[in-house]
């Protein structure tokens, strides 16, 4: 799946939280990143979007875990087991601190875990790093420790 325009990186955010969706798109427009951002409100809408209505397949999916109708774990499982979706780079984007949940999504082959930051500035720093690097190169064959995105890796 190639992006329609080479200048715009297709990114999808699945999050039921309206504030987080707003902050996320605000951060991207503030950063003036060449990103084509699509937003979906829950897991069911996400799967529906990916399987039927997406014109451009996202290269990166930011996936919240705790969502109504279909949660992030279920979506992750479906996507990673779907032949035409399994190559999407999935970044778990959640507030969870549960080691078990983090272990679970690592086992389910999510590509990166980013904890929702406590400040807008930090969110922008994270996004400007993540969306401007070759993710598949930098974050391939991760260990569990590297799986959790640290602001340190920005340095």
């Amino acid at each position: 799946m190639k992006p329609a325009s080479p200048q715009f990186l297709p990114v999808l955010l699945a999050d039921d939280d309206i504030d987080d969706r707003m902050l996320f798109s605000d951060a991207i427009s503030d950063l003036k990143l060449p990103v084509d951002l699509q937003l979906v409100k829950d897991g069911a809408e996400l799967m529906d979007y990916l399987l039927t209505s997406a014109i451009i397949m996202p290269e990166i999916l930011f996936l919240d875990l705790n969502m109504p109708r279909k949660n992030g774990f279920e979506c992750l499982d479906e996507i990673k087991n779907h032949p035409s979706l399994k190559d999407i780079f999935i970044i778990i984007y959640s507030t969870t601190e549960s080691q078990k949940e983090i272990d679970d999504v690592f086992e389910q082959q999510a590509n990166l875990f980013i904890k929702k930051p406590n400040s807008f500035t930090e969110l922008k720093r994270i996004l400007s790093h993540v969306l401007t690097t070759d993710l598949k190169k930098e974050f391939s064959n991760q260990t569990k420790e590297q799986f959790i995105f640290q602001i340190k890796s920005l340095l």
Binding site: D19, L23, T95, E97, K116, N118, S119, F120, T121, L123
Partner: protein, 422 residues
């Protein structure tokens, strides 16, 4: 004194038998007919022996004896018949009744009479002793039975109480876990809106701050300070609630590198305070490192936080081992404890607060003077207790404080006595 009943219709016979027996110290009761004897025996039963003349008018000695033996209470009293020498008479009584009887033939041989009487009296005494002993034994047996029953009852009660206790402990543990889980969930969910407040007040400040005057900016500042404090509180409650949820196995660890790691974490504060931290060799203990780190972090951080402004903060971390009596197991079991001291030259506190400071949300200082959530030391106490140890503090205002963590040492096997080869 043994009682003997003498029955004879002739006064002179009664007299002569009495005179023969009196010197031996018996208590003698005389009856001059079978009827009178029966009358006496209606009131008195405690005769050791009856001496009975056989040939008496109206009721003969045998007839009297058989009437006596009809009564249950008298059946045990032996009777010696005094009779003229005649085998027939003996047989007559055998026809009536058998019993503990003997015969003395007239004319009476005084020695024989005394000897026979003494034998029967002796028998009576022995019997009485036996009966008394038997009664004692029965009483003892009864007491024993009662005791056994009581013991059984109290054992049942103890078992029941134990069961209730165990059930209560289970319930308490479940309730405690539930509470911790509740605190965990609540504080986790509380973080969400708090994160939004943080993010949006930050954006308000950075994007619209220029349009606000000093007053407006101050309010934003206040919101951010309050938010940071709430975040710290929630984070601490979360940590606190996770202690009993997180059941990582205890591992034998060297505390020295662990504490050095904690010092690295605190490096910024140590540099900022220009503090000197001295750390001696600490013991190897079976601990949960995930819990030990926040324990030392909190205690050392406290020492840095409550340092004096005008002098260089010096913190000493050292240890010693000691045998302490296990309060639960009693004085026989001396457990070895490692005591780890965190001692500082800070502002200290009044010794009267040395226990209260470990209570949840207990603070000795105003939030404006020293920031804090009032959870740190409660967390420390809970962590130490999870390790079956205890924590205490010694301090005086202006004199610095020393916190002492006592943790049980793994049981060291005593060196086996040297065996001499034979």
């Amino acid at each position: 004194m043994a009682k003997i009943l003498i029955v004879d219709d002739r006064e002179d016979n009664l007299m002569s038998i009495s005179s023969l027996l009196e010197p031996a110290g018996y208590q003698l009761v005389k009856a001059n007919s079978g009827r009178e004897a029966l009358k006496i025996l209606l009131i008195e039963y405690d005769f050791a022996l009856i001496l009975m003349d056989v040939q008496m008018p109206n009721l003969s000695g045998f007839e009297t004896a058989s009437l006596i033996y009809e009564r249950e209470r008298l059946r045990h009293i032996p009777i010696i018949f005094i009779t003229a020498h005649s085998q027939d008479e003996e047989n007559i009584f055998k026809g009536y009744k058998t019993g503990a009887v003997d015969y003395i033939y007239k004319p009476i041989n005084p020695d024989l009479l005394r000897a026979k009487v003494s034998v029967f009296v002796e028998l009576y005494r022995k019997n009485h002793q036996l009966i008394a002993q038997e009664q004692k034994l029965i009483a003892i047996n009864k007491n024993l039975e009662n005791e056994i029953n009581e013991r059984k009852n109290s054992e049942e009660k103890v078992k029941l109480l134990n069961l209730q206790l165990l059930q209560n402990i289970d319930k308490l543990e479940v309730a405690n876990k539930d509470l911790d889980r509740f605190a965990f969930m609540a504080s986790h969910d509380l973080q969400e809106p708090l994160r939004k407040i943080n993010v949006f007040s930050e954006r308000l400040d950075s994007e619209y701050g220029k349009r606000l005057d000093e007053g407006g900016k101050k309010y934003i500042n206040r919101i951010q300070t309050a938010t940071a404090r709430l975040q710290a509180l929630i984070k601490d409650i979360l940590t606190f609630s996770k202690i009993s949820i997180d059941k990582t196995a205890f591992v034998n660890s060297d505390l020295t590198p662990l504490v050095k790691d904690v010092l690295l974490e605190l490096d910024d504060v140590i540099k900022e305070k220009k503090a000197e931290v001295q750390i001696e060799q600490l013991p190897n203990l079976a601990i949960n490192p995930n819990l030990m780190r926040p324990l030392f972090y909190n205690l050392i951080h406290n020492s840095l936080k409550y340092s004096k402004k005008d002098i260089k903060p010096v913190i000493r971390i050292y240890s010693e081992t000691e045998s302490a009596v296990d309060k639960l197991k009693g004085p026989e079991t001396k457990n070895k404890y490692a005591r780890i001291f965190i001692s500082d030259n800070g502002i200290g506190f009044e010794q009267v607060f040395s226990e209260q400071i470990f209570d949840m949300f207990k603070r000795l200082h105003n939030q404006n003077e020293y920031e804090g959530t009032g959870i740190g030391l409660a967390l420390c106490k809970k962590i130490v207790e999870e390790h079956n140890g205890f924590i205490s503090a010694k301090s005086a205002v202006g004199e610095g404080s020393t916190f002492v963590i006592s943790l049980p040492m793994p049981e060291v096997e005593k060196p086996a006595p040297v065996k001499v080869k034979s």
